[in-house]
């Protein structure tokens, strides 16, 4: 009977040996305080593990062997009694008898705990993303040094993971290496650093999702303001340069020759500031100008000058002839006293206009017979006073001194004029007239 039972049992063992009882184990150190966990499972999930037991012997503290606990298809042992030095043996037993054994070292099959609390923070100033995560192994005594692997991808791109290995718990991802305005997911796992403890990758951490910002054309507000102000400043300077080129800039950069008429006006202005000096006949519109018959004036001048020593040139006579046209004389209402005349103006005008510079003033001041020369004297002002627009106008008879125009004595006037301007009075008048009309 005993021999029959023995044969049956041996048959059972033969059937059991045909199955593949290969198994794998991993250890987790300090998983619960100071307690370690060793987990084993058959590689073939179809193995009937009903009566199978796992046992570990060797490299244990104060005991020789320990038996595994079973949870569904997994065999595990939770203990503090791992020596962590040297090899151990794992036995698979059926009914107390060894089916298979495996020699392993607890410190070489370590599986770390999965990292957690992974976060991604966008740093606008640095244009990058700071990835941080945490691991429970930073607080452990034995398995402290780990190697981490961060994997990230764009959500729409499946199986297109990017991997980064690091030993610390911080990682920086550059913004320019990521797609703008895209959704990304990121996860991390760990493995022992292979210094003494070795093993397998941990489980992946929970995935974290983050969105990359859009690339906008907005510039920094300060920079934008400065750019706009600079643009407008430059534009304003260009406009001002174009507008003031002729009047202000060009005279300084490329000064033009001074205008003789304006220069003369300025010179005449200096002694008498309240005088209106101008070559423009429109300045004298409010003055009463008595026009003198050009031929009569010339005859009178010639007769007056018959006794003079100086002679007029032919060109000056022609000029005088041209200048005789269109003279206008101040009206009867315009009056000027000899005193005023001597001191101020050689011409009569309510406004006190003067069309002759100081040479004429000097000549007129020397004339003692201003009144007498008023009628007979030549109308010396015609060429000086009048513009080209005044022609064919009648020349009124000069009025007496008090009430009319004071005309200078030709003699007295002519000589200084001729002295200052040329050889004769007529010549001087011609010169001034032609000077004016030849503008």
């Amino acid at each position: 009977m005993d021999s029959i039972l023995l044969l049956i049992k041996e048959g059972e063992f033969e059937d059991a040996e045909l199955d593949d009882y290969s198994f794998s184990c991993y250890s987790q150190l300090e998983v619960d305080g100071t307690q370690h966990l060793l987990t084993c499972a058959f590689d073939d999930p179809d193995v009937n593990s009903t009566n199978l037991e796992f046992e570990i012997c060797g490299a244990l503290l104060n005991v020789k062997c320990l038996t595994f606990d079973k949870l569904q298809e997994m065999y595990f042992i939770k203990t503090k009694k791992f020596l962590l030095i040297g090899d151990s043996e794992i036995h698979v037993k059926l009914g107390g008898k060894n089916i298979t054994s495996k020699k392993l070292n607890i410190v070489e099959i370590v599986k770390p705990e999965a990292p957690f609390d992974i976060r991604v923070i966008y740093r606008k100033g640095a244009n990058d993303f700071l990835v941080t995560f945490n691991t429970s192994h930073s607080q452990k005594k034995y398995v402290k040094e780990l190697m981490h692997e961060v994997a990230y991808r764009q959500e729409k791109n499946e199986n297109d993971w990017m991997h980064v290995n690091l030993s610390s718990t911080k990682l920086t991802l550059l913004q320019r290496k990521l797609q703008p305005d895209a959704m990304y997911e990121i996860k991390v796992r760990s493995i022992p650093n292979a210094n003494y403890f070795q093993g397998f990758w941990s489980e992946w951490s929970p995935t974290f999702h983050f969105r990359t910002p859009e690339i906008t054309g907005r510039m920094d507000p300060v920079l934008l303001t400065i750019s706009i102000l600079s643009f407008f400043s430059v534009a304003l300077m260009v406009i001002l340069a174009c507008a003031l080129w002729k009047k202000r800039i060009k005279p300084i950069v490329w000064p033009s020759l001074p205008d003789h008429k304006k220069t003369l006006e300025q010179l005449c202005k200096k002694p008498k500031k309240n005088l209106n000096v101008s070559f423009n006949p429109e300045s004298f519109l409010d003055c009463q100008i008595h026009k003198v018959d050009g031929i009569q004036a010339r005859d009178e001048a010639e007769s007056f000058l018959q006794d003079t020593s100086s002679q007029l040139d032919e060109s000056e006579k022609r000029r005088l002839g041209g200048g005789m046209q269109g003279p206008t004389w101040p009206s009867e209402h315009a009056a000027i006293t000899p005193k005023a005349f001597r001191e101020d103006l050689p011409f009569g005008c309510l406004a006190g206009s003067i069309s002759m510079c100081e040479a004429l003033v000097q000549s007129s001041s020397r004339s003692p017979d201003c009144r007498e020369g008023g009628k007979n004297g030549p109308h010396v002002y015609q060429g000086l006073l009048l513009g080209p627009g005044t022609t064919n106008s009648t020349v009124p008879t000069p009025s007496p001194f008090q009430s009319g125009i004071l005309t200078l004595s030709p003699t007295a006037q002519g000589q200084p004029v001729l002295t200052s301007l040329g050889s004769s009075q007529e010549e001087a008048y011609v010169t001034m007239s032609s000077f004016y009309q030849n503008q």
Binding site: T34, L61, N62, K80, K81, L83, L84, I85, G86, V107, K141, Y142, N195, Y196, F197
Partner: protein, 170 residues
């Protein structure tokens, strides 16, 4: 009649035989431990010590300091055995066996486990001759105070550092 001044040849041979039989072997036995080989140390690269043993030694040291206030004088028994040159293995072997004496029931589980880990782990890394086992047993029974344990742990630590320094130099 035998001559008094001349001993018989048979009597001299017997004296020489007894000398060789009963004199020299004990002498050899006494001298043998001195000339015997030292313990071989396997963990000279220091990985096991740095990642496992040193952690338990530091934890034990912390627990002892929290529990006792020890004097500075060193017990005499420790003065006999030192981590001398070429004797580091022997010292560690003896020290590891002494640690077992400190395992007590009234200690905490973690305390006893750390003691066992240092003792057993050190012995695992040493390959000593059986003679060392018999010799140190009597001495191990004497010292059981925590202060002695603290001193012993420091000596073990010092000796390991010496071994590792020596292996780095070589």
């Amino acid at each position: 009649m035998p001559f008094a001044g001349n001993p018989s040849p048979r009597a001299g041979t017997e004296k020489v035989s007894f000398r060789y039989i009963f004199g020299i072997p004990p002498l050899i036995l006494v001298l043998l431990p001195v000339t015997s080989s030292d313990c071989d140390i396997e963990g000279k690269d220091g990985r096991e010590y740095q990642h496992v043993l040193m952690i338990s030694i530091n934890d034990l040291d912390t627990m002892i300091k929290n529990r006792t206030n020890c004097p500075n004088n060193e017990p005499k028994v420790f003065k006999k055995h030192a981590c001398d040159d070429n004797k580091e293995g022997v010292f560690l072997y003896r020290a590891a066996r002494k640690l077992k004496q400190f395992v007590k029931v009234n200690n905490s589980e973690d305390f006893n486990l750390h003691l066992s880990r240092v003792s057993q782990g050190t012995l695992q890394l040493l390959n000593c001759t059986p003679k060392e086992d018999n010799k140190s047993v009597k001495e191990q029974r004497k010292q059981k105070s925590l202060c002695s344990l603290g001193i012993l742990l420091q000596k073990i630590k010092t000796c390991w550092n010496k071994i590792l320094r020596g292996s780095k130099e070589h």
